[in-house]
Amino acid sequence: MTPLLQVRGIEKRYGARIGCADVEFDLYPGEVMGIVGESGSGKSTLLNCLAGHLKPDAGQVIFDTRADGPVDTVTMSEPARRMLGRTDWAFVHQHARDGLRMNVSAGGNIGERLMAVGARHYGDIRARAVDWLDRVEIAENRVDDRPSAFSGGMQQRLQIARNLVTEPRLVFMDEPTGGLDVSVQARLLDLLRGLVRQMGLSALIVTHDLAVVRLLADRLMVMKDGHVVESGLTDQVLDDPQHAYTQLLVSSVLQV
């Protein structure tokens, strides 16, 4: 099986400081990988390099495109990469307002990606928006409301609907449950798990919350000072950590 994403030697520097370096992994279709580490460990830098928001100084991010097979997205033309960002890739921001258009209705937010790839039938676009609102458990009668009238959890679910409407194959998530109430987090986690399963999504999830990765991620990568210090099966890394830093990280979590 061809990996959906092959990451090779990714490095990003900010002057002399290392953002991330020597990152390599393969992600297969349907796999969910968590990236954990403390603030400044380079996990967000890495995610932004992989998603094409930052240009890495070295390395390749090879994506198995539908049309042409594996292509290095770092060297691909910007229009092609942005097109990927609207079709096969999705990016869920920590703060919903970074990923939503706050002055556009929920339906318009969901429909934007469809219109961006050429949908020109209002009735169809609206029907799909309503369908997706339902899938993320937002009442249909909110379709014309602006996200500013939504709760934090609803905004985040709307952001997910907006991203998944074009049925992407790879979803980048940056702290998707960060900043939400614990009870709202749980609902979102359950929703994400269901969508990942139903759509066969692959996902890269950056978080500092080990409980989130245990419930969402098949695999885990632990980062420290810009480097990957340990990776493997999520529960193996969490229950039998090998690296000193991972052991410290795991033992530092407060038990409830």
């Binding site: 193996q236 039998d240 410290l248």
Partner: protein, 237 residues
Amino acid sequence: MSISGEKKSAMIDLSGVAKSFVLNNQGGAVIPVMAGAGLRVAPGECVALTGASGAGKSTLMRMIYGNYRANAGRILVGGTDVARAEPRDIIALRREVLGYVSQFLRVVPRVPTLDVVAEPLLALGVDEEKARVRAAELLARLNIPERLWSLSPTTFSGGEQQRVNIARGFAHDYPALLLDEPTASLDPVNRAVVLELIEAAKARGAAIVGIFHDDAARARVCDREADVSAFTPQAAA
């Protein structure tokens, strides 16, 4: 008595398995916990791991599941070497072949019990309706009142959580099963149900490795015992 595991091809086949923990944050202390461990379990066979508390029963079971990393040796489950397999191969193995009933229920909060039990089937691509029917059957059989099915099990009593965990572990007919004290904290009625489930799993050909502190239960469902004390490293301080 059942057939011996030695003759048939084993579903679970361990040899030369070793494990030590390295505590990097405590001066790099190395704690060897197991060496030279071997075990063969044939389809339809149930083997009990025995040994004093701390002898490594749970550790061995977790290594078979891939939860702990083996430092040496081979852990074949249905032909996959868990000690060396890629994460995605272990995930596929857990989805299709290897079930595990642990002592702890770990679920997304607020997910209804029925969905928690149905999830292993959904992960296999079973139709939602069918998966829920199967989940309902198991919950009913394990005497979880129907009014609780729509609630999250996180608020349940210990015994109820244990039964939800068992229902989840038996939802799919795994060819290999790991059972960590499946009858602990159960009343006699439910204990009998669990033992029936184990016997049924054996009858359909599942290879089972279990930890049973309940002697009577062990005697009833297990064909053999494997004493993990034999795998205690000699060099242990």
